[in-house]
């Protein structure tokens, strides 16, 4: 417990200003280095305590935000441990994404009052203060318990319980297979293990996907309209926002800056940006606009790639299209009022005429489907916070590792330990003990014993 590195958003929640994520523990600096790229190229590992670096938060090759990282080296910090404070632009969305990255990089979410508790345990605080800390922790524990109990009847705990039951059964199957080798081979069902595990994996992935797209409902999807010049991006922007937000002319390169608008499609809030058409240009102003387009594209959750039905792909367009391959994207073949196109792009494609408003519904449906909105129907199960997501994420990681262990030809004992770890993470949500559950399951489900 005291050995793990923890992280939390330590400024009050709310939009605006700046916010700070604090990472504390032995591996704080190492973890920060995994998500933070300083502008100077220096690793935080190599800088002194009490110094800061400006840079970017990058996770899964995506830039999340610009940030400042401030390094404290043990014991000279609030908690007495290594601490990195990452200050970025405020607003839940950005801060939570950064925290997510930090957690995925190896930290665990901090408990209520945990930074203060650590400060005390490391001799950074006196006795009177300690009493106050115990109250905070105790209240935090009560809250956590209440939260757990309030979701006890809820969909989340039912879903978790169902995944847990599957994994307990998988663990019991492995154990029954190994602990009762004298039993008839037919009884064990060990050959069904890959199936059981991939079914659990899918369920866990769905929980995470739902959580992530659930956040999308609350916080909005960043969508960028991109494409070559004069393919009708701005017309599309105006159509989607039902306003004359972007200036539309037939002159290529009219939009020179990124124009933003919030658009509601179904239940999804789209933070839409219209960008400058991408092309090699000598115009200084347009050049800056193109740079900004690229950045908007990088930051977007969803790309709407617009092409012209009336002409073949240009080299510029091919290049743009290649650059969005790894992103979540929808292609719009525009100007069907002028020409028909049989372009096959291999991604979800909508043919429409933005000018005449034909095909708008199809585009809106495609957007909703793509952000997982269609799947996220009213009965979708949503995890309620980052802590729960973290437990599910770790469980998923272990289940995946169990599947890999199995398929690469390792023996079942190694697979069993991965399943155990997955269960441990899931049970952090419910506070039960893994080993006794598995033993109980064996006796319940299998007829074993001498």
């Amino acid at each position: 417990m005291a050995g793990k590195t923890v992280a939390a958003i330590s400024t009050p929640m709310g939009v605006g200003g700046i916010g700070t994520i604090r990472i504390s523990g032995e591996k704080a600096i190492e973890i920060a280095d995994k998500v933070f790229c300083s502008a100077s190229g220096e690793k935080l590992e190599n800088i002194k305590g009490y110094t800061a670096r400006y840079g970017r938060i990058v996770w899964n090759e995506k830039t999340i935000d610009d940030a400042v990282a401030l390094v404290f080296r043990a014991p000279h910090s609030y908690t007495g441990e290594n601490v990195v404070e990452i200050t970025a632009h405020g607003g839940n969305f950005v801060l939570k994404r950064i925290l997510r990255a930090v957690l995925e990089a190896g930290a665990i979410p901090a408990e209520a009052g945990e930074f203060t508790k650590r400060a005390f345990l490391n001799g950074k605080m006196d006795l009177a203060e300690a009493e106050a800390v115990m109250d905070i922790i105790s209240a935090g524990g009560d809250r956590a318990l209440k939260a757990a109990r309030s979701t006890a009847d809820g969909a989340v705990s039912r879903e978790i319980a169902s995944i847990k039951a599957d994994l307990v059964f998988a663990a019991a199957t492995v154990t029954a297979f190994t602990d009762f080798p004298d039993e008839e081979p037919t009884f064990s069902g060990i050959d069904k293990l890959p199936e059981m595990l991939s079914s659990s994996k899918e369920k866990l992935e769905k929980l995470i996907r739902n959580y992530d797209s659930g956040k999308v409902f609350k916080e909005g999807v960043r969508a960028a309209i991109i494409g070559s010049t004069n393919v009708g991006k701005s017309t599309l922007m105006n159509l989607l926002s039902r306003a004359d937000r972007s200036i539309v002319t037939s002159i290529a390169g009219t939009t020179r800056d990124v124009i933003e608008e919030t658009v509601q499609i179904g239940d999804v809030k789209l933070l839409l940006s219209d960008t400058a058409g991408m092309r090699e240009t000598g115009d200084e102003v347009e050049k800056i606009g193109v740079e900004r387009s690229k950045k908007a594209m990088e930051n977007a959750d969803l790309i709407i790639f617009v092409a012209d039905a009336s002409r073949p792909f240009t080299n510029d367009e091919k290049e743009i299209f290649d650059s969005i391959k790894d992103k979540t994207a929808i292609a719009v073949i525009n100007k069907t009022d002028i020409a028909d196109s049989d372009l096959e792009l291999g991604i979800k494609t909508v043919k429409m005429s933005a000018k005449q408003g034909v095909g708008l519904e199809n585009l809106e449906t495609a957007i909703l489907e793509t952000v997982g909105a269609m799947e996220l129907s009213a009965d979708a199960v949503l995890l309620s916070n980052e802590r729960q997501r973290n437990c599910v994420f770790e469980a998923l990681r272990e289940v995946t590792s169990a599947i890999d262990t199995l398929s690469s030809g390792y023996t079942v004992d190694a697979v069993g330990t991965c399943i155990d770890s997955a269960l441990t993470h899931l049970m952090e949500l419910t506070g039960e003990s893994v080993t006794s559950e598995v033993a109980d399951e064996i006796f319940r489900k299998f007829c074993v014993g001498k």
């Binding site: 417990m1 005291a2 050995g3 793990k4 408990e111 209520a112 009052g113 945990e114 508790k117 005390f120 345990l121 006795l127 300690a130 009493e131 800390v133 115990m134 109250d135 922790i137 105790s138 935090g140 524990g141 009560d142 318990l145 663990a171 019991a172 154990t175 297979f177 190994t178 602990d179 009762f180 080798p181 004298d182 039993e183 008839e184 262990t405 690469s408 030809g409 390792y410 023996t411 079942v412 004992d413 190694a414 069993g416 330990t417 155990d420 770890s421 441990t424 506070g431 039960e432 003990s433 080993t435 006794s436 598995v438 033993a439 064996i442 006796f443 007829c447 074993v448 014993g449 001498k450």
Partner: protein, 627 residues
Amino acid sequence: MTVKRYKAAEYDVAVIGAGHAGIEAALAAARMGTKTVCFTINLDWVGNMPCNPSIGGTAKGHLVREIDALGGEMAIAADKNTLQTRMLNLGKGPAVHSLRAQIDRRAYSGYMKHVMELEENLEVRQAEVTEIEKCENGFKVITAFGASHFCKTVILATGTFLKGRIYVGEVNFESGPDGTLAATKLSSSLQKLGITLRRFKTGTPARVLRSSVDTSELELQPGDEKITPFSYSTDPKTIKNTHDCYISYTNDRTKEVILRNLSRSPLYAGDIEGVGPRYCPSIEDKIVRFADKPRHQLFIEPCGENTEEMYLQGMSSSLPEDVQIEFYKTIKGLENVKITRSAYAIEYDCIDPICLKPSLEFKCCEGLYGAGQFNGSSGYEEAAAQGLVAGVNAARKVKGIEPMILSRSGSYIGTLIDDLVTKGCMDPYRMMTSRSEYRLVLRQDNADERLMHLGRENGLISDEKWQAFLDRTAKKNAEIERLESRFIPPSEELCEMLISKGTAPATTGVRLADLVRRPQLSYKDLAPFDPERPDLSDDVQEKVEVEIKYKGYIDRQLATIAETKRLEGKKLPADINYDEIGGLRLEAVEKLKKVLPESIGQASRISGVSPADISVLLIWLEKNKNA
């Protein structure tokens, strides 16, 4: 009639019972130099195996290895009296490789009796202990004939003798196992010491005459060709497979006979109140609970060299004798079976082990220890493991040394005891590999590396054994280092072998260890390509292979262990008043008061104690350290 008491001898350690727990307890205490006595109701039944004539099996084999590493006797005794030996689970991974041996039960018993008789500081005495009284600096241990012994410490290892009662159908009577006398008086004396007793039950199948079993049509189960002993000090060449086992199955007729007579079972009639072991159900239980299973397997095992009796593993029952005869005869191979002893269930007094410390000393009674089935466990190996720990700790108490507490992360024995004293048990506790969260680290091959230093510290490991251990470990480490640093060149032969094993061919020089790490390859497969390989014994080769192949998984468990050690190291004082610690939840206070954990680590495993409660305890500890 009151028996006239007389003053008999004085001892440092008294052990009540000479079953598998009692033997290890008495031998350990005596070998550690304390004056020890071991009482048994019948000296001819020392180390008896009233149920299966075998030692080891999954997780249990690990326990036997660990007992050997700590300087116990069970492994050596089993090796010396083996009829057949098998390493189970080969192919399922090193964490679950488990050794099991069929044992000549009467020879084993005779061997153990003799070892005890020869032990310098140990007296073995046939007597029924009827009372234990607390007195200044120790206890008075009183026998049925009035002998009163002053003993500084006492270990209770009463097995199924304590108020034992045997059930066969409608018949039931006071008895110990295998026709011995029950210990009927001691229970009330223990209750006077403040100990709460409860009832557990267990059962055993019939024994049958070999000549009445037709084995010609049955599946044969022979021993392993390659023999692995339990003890690190046994030469494998001294063990021979001399007997076979056989497999048969129940059928529809067996089921029909049992279901028709179910009302005559004392369990279904409600005569037995004791809780039975879930993992060891009677055949009637299996047929009722798993009604859709068409058949149940049974093993027919030899009981010894000088007997024609055979044991029917998987067929325990408490049905009436006439029903037993009828259903056993429905089974293939047993059509003309002659029963020599009937199956029975036995009910006995035991404790909820939550009242014990991790040293196995009673929380309510200093100097008094419990071990084996008396503690709510089941199995010879589980009993012996606890006996050894109780014996060591009683001797350490007498010598004024801190108790030996085995950790969960260091051994199955530690896991077994921690489970018992932290969680208690609702039915007889059996060891299983799934009980350990560290099973890739707690393997049967490395019990010596995990525990032998503790055995050595207690004076239970001889110079010779210790030196052999040091040599073995040095060889293993050197070989691992060599494999990690040596590359072999690619060659046609190598690629051919790799492809034939279903793994990728090597195009450049390749590290030997990286090849061993491939799941498809074994250490032995690589011998032809590794001319510099030293000549190593089988057990060292096994260790080398496992440590390299499973390094990734082992390292992950070692990291978790390092985490938990921090919490295990934070000791909670014995006189802690949980009511006075603000911030603890009520449920947690109640649980903590009941278990009285010795460390934060133990506290964290109590159900009902939350992480927030643990934080509060950590802060309380820190605060009191400063105060």
